[in-house]
Amino acid sequence: MNPFLFLRGEFRRSWGGALALALVLAFAGSLSPAVSMMERAIRSGMAESADAFDLLVGARGSAVDLVLGAVYLRPEALSLLPEGMLEEVKSHGGIRWAAPLAFGDRWRDFPLAGTSSELVNLGGRRPLASGRMFLNTDEAVVGAGVPLKEGDSFAPSHGSVAEAALDEDGSSRAHEHMFRVVGKMPATGTPWDRAIVVPIEALWNMHGAGTGRSSVVVVKPVTVADAYRLRAAFNARDTQAVFSGEVLTRLFSTLEDMHNVMLMLTSAAQAAALAAALVSGFFAVAMRVKSLALLRALGASHGFLAVSVWLMVSGIMLAGCLLGLGLGCMMASAASMWIQAETGVALAVSLSARECLAVLAAFGCGCVAAALPAYFACRRTAGELLRTA
């Protein structure tokens, strides 16, 4: 037997209904791969962003806030370290380089970070993409995503980017201090692509605050042993030292529960879609009773009807699963582009065997479920079909 001619006729006759059903399945089935791909991309993107920040020393408080501030330039909750902390860190030895980091102020939506040249060129291991390093407090080096070029001058505004977003009455004012861009950093795919980096002394001058204070000291230890030794030394009453990788791992494991909840929700959506597909499969059979009765009248066997209905429902499910996978990729890509635009974290969304296997499993369940309407279609006698038609 070969039911494909019949199926072609049926699909061509009622392609709109079949397409609508496939799209419903696609929308429901796209959530799971989209969540899975996004989750992997976020983990990978966040971990890569933290590569340059081995050990962070900050004021006592939340370790997560410290990492979010230094690595992802979200310093809203960071307190200042005591004066002279940079020198104290350096005095411990076992350090390849250490750089202070202070935040505050912005130019448009681009945050200003005050530091030293070591953090910009990672102790000389990462040259600038163009130009040169800042040499005095009127000069700045910008990230690859900042729309300023060498030679441009700008005056930063008061307040952080987050504060500026809440600044509805226009109270933020421009500083009188002008900076001139002298260099551009290479693209890193991290929030630092959106940063404007100036000498930390410039921030001290602009705010009239005491010198020697920063929010964070970023440390590059020589060895792993040095790293652990330094961490132990600076986990004190007023300060904390954290490995950014370790904090991120802890953060991810906390988020794992949320990820599981999301996966449960998307799985529930998939199950609902499968149930809807099954019900629709029965409806599809009900709508085609006349055709099925005709096939019986022309001499088609029960088996021919069963295979035809099974292929019809499975075909719709296959189309739904494939469209869902494509739609999931598109949703994850769109979300990653939005996140990159918002945070600067480059997220590489990619399809893995995990998503493909999940879709394959959903399709397998669909194929098994499609056997039900097929069974009921072939179980009906010709007389029943004729009466219904």
């Binding site: 037997m1 006759r13 029960h302 004729l386």
Partner: protein, 236 residues
């Protein structure tokens, strides 16, 4: 297959609002093989039920001594799957509203029953389908059936019905939805086709356009088949 028909004790009842209603009651009927028979009756007289019983799509009420015999094949003794296979081999059916798949071509519609048996349709069947369509005046074999006139669609349906050289041809109101000239044309072609293929042809209809072309004529009134009306009907 010997295509003589013998019916005995055929009763058929359906459930309606008032309970079981008998729509067919035929004590006995015998037709020699190759007969062209017209069965006339008003709407609701049981014509379509009779055709469905004759091709084994439905079985009559379980009455002692019931028989639906085509040659040596007794349909009441066959399981449903056996009746399906028998129908596929020996019966061609033609319907009032053609029952074509409008999005398939004329040729594909004719070849559709071949897909019940074959994965790949043999060339000889394809050749026969093309010959039948041409013989019935269908020129554009690859055009979708939906674009044909009603008369042409009925001729496509006729070609489909005789693809496997059935020994029995059953037609349910084949001219009811056609205008007079198309009805006459289809009648002529149906009779010619049945004669040339050697089929036993049973046509149920409420129209009298076929009277002069049938070997036997019956009237069905409230489920009862009244024989002996051939001459009366032919005279009309």
């Amino acid at each position: 297959m010997d295509n003589a028909l013998y019916l005995k004790n055929i009763r058929y009842s359906v459930q309606d609002g008032a309970g079981m209603r008998r729509v067919l009651d035929i004590p006995e009927l015998s037709l020699p093989g190759g007969t062209l028979a017209g069965i006339y009756g008003d709407s609701g007289s049981g014509k379509t039920s009779l055709l469905n019983i004759l091709c084994g799509l439905i079985l009559p009420d379980d009455v002692k001594g019931r028989e639906i015999r085509w040659g040596q094949d007794e349909l009441c003794a066959m399981p449903e799957g056996g009746r399906d296979a028998w129908r596929g081999r020996h019966v061609g059916m033609i319907f009032q509203d053609f029952q074509l798949f409008p999005q398939l071509s004329a040729l594909e519609n004719v070849l559709l029953p071949a897909t019940f048996r074959h994965v790949s349709i043999p060339e000889e069947l394809q050749s026969r389908a093309r010959d039948l369509l041409r013989r019935l005046g269908i020129r554009n074999l690859e055009a979708e059936a939906g674009v044909f006139s009603r008369g042409e669609q009925q001729r496509v349906a006729m070609a489909r019905a005789v693809l496997f050289r059935p020994s029995v041809l059953l037609a349910d109101e084949p001219t009811a939805s056609l205008d007079r000239s198309n009805a006459q044309l289809v009648t002529d072609e149906l009779v010619d086709l049945a004669r040339s293929e050697g089929c036993t042809l049973l046509v149920v209809t409420h129209e009298q356009v076929m009277h002069g072309r049938m070997d036997r004529c019956f009237r069905l009134e409230r489920g009862r088949l009244l024989s002996g009306l051939d001459d009366e009907l032919k005279e009309k």
